[in-house]
């Protein structure tokens, strides 16, 4: 392939197929937010530290601010908008609300995707494993304690 400044990419996001033209320099997070108008995935920093932009990319949790949209051609991406189905909240979403694991809600989509990735791969995590799984998601409101409780509750089917 010869270098290009842009390309039409095909992505599947939450089960929906999209085709869009992107500039090579566009970050995946901006593509999701600005081009696909899926604004649930958030931006909280500019050095890849905060995790607010976490999505699940071909089955793994990644920070969408460090992937170019053009790299995602052909990929399957899952964002927070795909968690609930038919108006029913995902157990993690219910658990977050019941345990007061969100205050301002800005880190929440990223937290939910990291938590989902954890539970998809490790259905019965220990508290320490939950904390390690969320190490890449910064929260300034909650101090993480309730978030960890929420993920544990969801894993035990308590939500």
């Amino acid at each position: 392939m010869d270098p290009v400044t842009g390309k039409t990419i095909a992505v599947n996001v939450n089960g929906d197929q999209y085709e869009r033209e992107v500039e090579a320099r566009q970050l995946l997070v901006h593509f999701l937010r600005d081009d696909l108008e899926l604004t649930g995935t958030h931006i909280g920093c500019d050095t890849g530290n905060c995790g607010a932009c976490t999505v699940i990319y071909d089955g793994t949790a990644i920070k969408s601010c460090m992937l170019l949209a053009i790299q995602a051609d052909g990929a399957r991406i899952d964002t927070v908008e795909g968690l609930a189905s038919d108006g029913e909240l995902h157990p993690l979403q219910r658990a977050f609300s019941e345990t007061h694991a969100l205050q301002c809600g800005y880190c929440t989509p990223g937290m939910l995707m990291s938590a989902k990735h954890l539970l998809d791969n490790n259905p019965e995590p220990t508290q320490h494993e939950v904390r390690r799984a969320l190490q890449g998601n910064i929260c300034r409101c909650t101090g993480y304690w309730n978030i960890v409780e929420a993920v544990l509750a969801a894993s035990k089917g308590e939500a």
């Binding site: 500039e23 320099r25 566009q26 901006h30 937010r33 600005d34 899926l38 604004t39 649930g40 995935t41 958030h42 931006i43 909280g44 920093c45 500019d46 050095t47 530290n49 905060c50 607010a52 964002t79 927070v80 908008e81 968690l83 609930a84 909240l89 979403q93 977050f96 609300s97 019941e98 007061h100 969100l102 205050q103 301002c104 809600g105 800005y106 880190c107 929440t108 989509p109 939910l112 508290q127 939950v130 904390r131 390690r132 969320l134 190490q135 890449g136 998601n137 910064i138 929260c139 300034r140 409101c141 909650t142 101090g143 993480y144 304690w145 309730n146 978030i147 960890v148 409780e149």
Partner: protein, 826 residues
Amino acid sequence: MTETVTPTEALVVEETETRPGFIGQSVPRKEDRRLVQGEGIFIDDMKRHGMGFVHFVRSPYAHARIVSVDVSKALELDGVYGTLTGDEVAIQTDPYFELTVPPGNEIKDYCLAVGKAHYMGEPVAAVVAATRDLARDAAELVEVEYEPLPVLVDPERAQDADAPVIHEDPGSNVVWSGLFSWGEIESAMAEADHVVRIQRLHFDRFSSTPLECSGGLVEFDRPTGQWHIYSNNQFPGFAAIMMAPALRTGIDKLRFISHDIGGAFGNKICTHPQLTACCLLARKLKRPVQWTEWRTEQHMTNTHGNERVFLDVEVPVKADGTMLGFRCRAIDDCGAYPRYEPLGCIIWSQVTPGMYRWRHIEIDFTQICTNKSPVGPNRGYSRMQHLWFTERVIDIVAHELDLDPVEVRKRNYIRSDEMPYETPNGCVYDSGDYSKMLDMALELIGYGVLEERRAEAAERGKLLGLGIGSTLDSGTNNFGQSQLLNPELQFSGNNEVATIKLDLLGEVVITLGTVPQGQGHETVASQVAAEILGCTPDDIHVRVGHDTYWNSHSGFSGTYASQFAVTGLGAVKGAAEKLAEEMRRLAAAVLGCPADDIELAGGMARMRDNREAALPFMALGAIINVNNAGLPEDLDVTLNARYVYRPPFQVPDKERKFGNLTLTYASQIHACLVEVDPETGAYEIVNYAAVDDCGKRIHPQIVEGQVHGATAQAIGAATHETFAYDEDGNLLTPNFYDYHVPHALDMPPLHAGYLESPSPFTAYGAKGMGEGGGAGIHAVCAALQDAMRAAGNQIVHDSCNPPWRVWEMLQDPESTRRLVSVEERR
């Protein structure tokens, strides 16, 4: 991982009526449904047709003359809509109103640098383009010529004769200075058995760095001159007071709208400069203008918490450990522009004695400018810095006089039977039982087995330390305290507004004047209203966010200063009661009985003695809105009530700097166990307890969330978070890579406890809370000092102690020891 312990014995100071219903219940949050689905509307989510994206060109120098700004190359780039420079700003706007006295009030503060850059990152020009990327590209093409000037970063040098002067118009770096003196410090000194002297205590610069950065989307309506400012500014009342005169327009011409906000913690109060620039650009370019701040920009320029140095501290103490008072000099560094300052120069005096009974207090307080980021009222604003100081004093005095830190606190704490307690400067602490809270915290931390744990840690080569941090969260300001700084200011009291209506189809709708950023205002407001109206919180719709077009706000509206439970809920209560009263009168008119015979219950207005005679809310709404023929002529009912809550304040005594400055005082006492690795200075918080008393908790889970959050922020501030500058004014921690905030693995086990000492001054006995007062910082400092007893008896004198600082103290105990001395008087 967390435990909630509520003491089982009765702890209510006053009898309160048993209320059925929702107050005191942790009802599900209304906000959650949209937020967990990523459907919150945050400022960067908003789009407008044809909008241009702003990028600010920022000074790379901390202090420099701006020789020229050339935007021509930027304008040539395809897709660039236009630019704004300091020259235009100086013509189109007036400098922002300065709160301080002469000569500080001569400071010229504009939305872009005019003539000079005063801190690294100060915006010098703005570019607007069709996409974010183009705006960024174009910004690089703006050519600015600078003449660097000498830089001032050391607050203790700011008043030197040869210090660089930040603002030429006042000609001095002093923003404000004054002497606070209550009681008789000289006679206290004479009476003392010991005088403990501490040369220097330093509260570091940090901030709560909300995850969502600031932002705005501004539209200008040319025919009417109306600006629509969508933003996440948390105190639109203040922004309007700053922006309207600057833009030479009326207050109502600046419509502020907010929706969901991703945390603010005081950092989204002083965004009026950026919003002003957006207003000018929207008008100039005839299109909506969108601004999103980046993380690096937030760290460099918007905003830091106050940095404060306490010098020459003297503490007279009796032999039995009773502390009589203190005297010191304080220098507060507000960065390059005061803005909300110098309010920080008085706000600390809401908690002058901290939690303690000393009566003789003197502080010589000076606030100065430096070439650093301007400060903003970061969570704990000014009280936190002062309370850290009082806690360090208590802890250091106990340390030096070999007194038990628990006993010393209990001996000196204000007692619950002294409440309400008038402090030396006339503030009134409403209620609280600090000794009891301390006992709870010690129980939770395992105080009884402390020495065992210490010995066990020593076997592993670690130093274990226990620290106590006691703090107050004063809430609901009396803005009259601003007159103690500047008698010319026309601000006093406080207020908040709520509007409530019963709609055509029976829906109850509340609009708040507050600007929530995660504190659950929609939920809590609905609990209060539901109880009054006899329905459930689900029956009540609270509009999301804030909009000045709703006319449900006033001069002080916003969310800051730990006051929602008092001011916001006070307004909701007042509005709901007005509505309830009208509903009863309307129902009485329809049912043909006296209004006193009507009760609101079960979603109905019904006769108390004949429940069959009932009108559902929908009927009432329909009658007033579309079916009102036949109503009595003198029936004054609109079912649309607006209420302004006003706390009972007087203007304080300007001579004596005396008077009640805050309505409520929530309190927190934390205890913390640290294990220090003496070889590396690295340490771990191995156990943590937090006890909170904010009076009646309207929604206990939300209160707990605030305690957690404040604790986590305090831990970050205590262990790593600092905005450090080099001598050229470069910020060394401009992003989350170098400015380490706590992550999930950094958090200690947390044991929480609660006490409810109702406030006698508020409707529900609730107190504002949320800022937390920095208890975690005080506790960690004390714990480190305790741990180092065995290693050199160091004194902790900075608020932020990363591993390198602990290591330096371990290497050189003398460097800290020489800061402290004890004079024996008898």
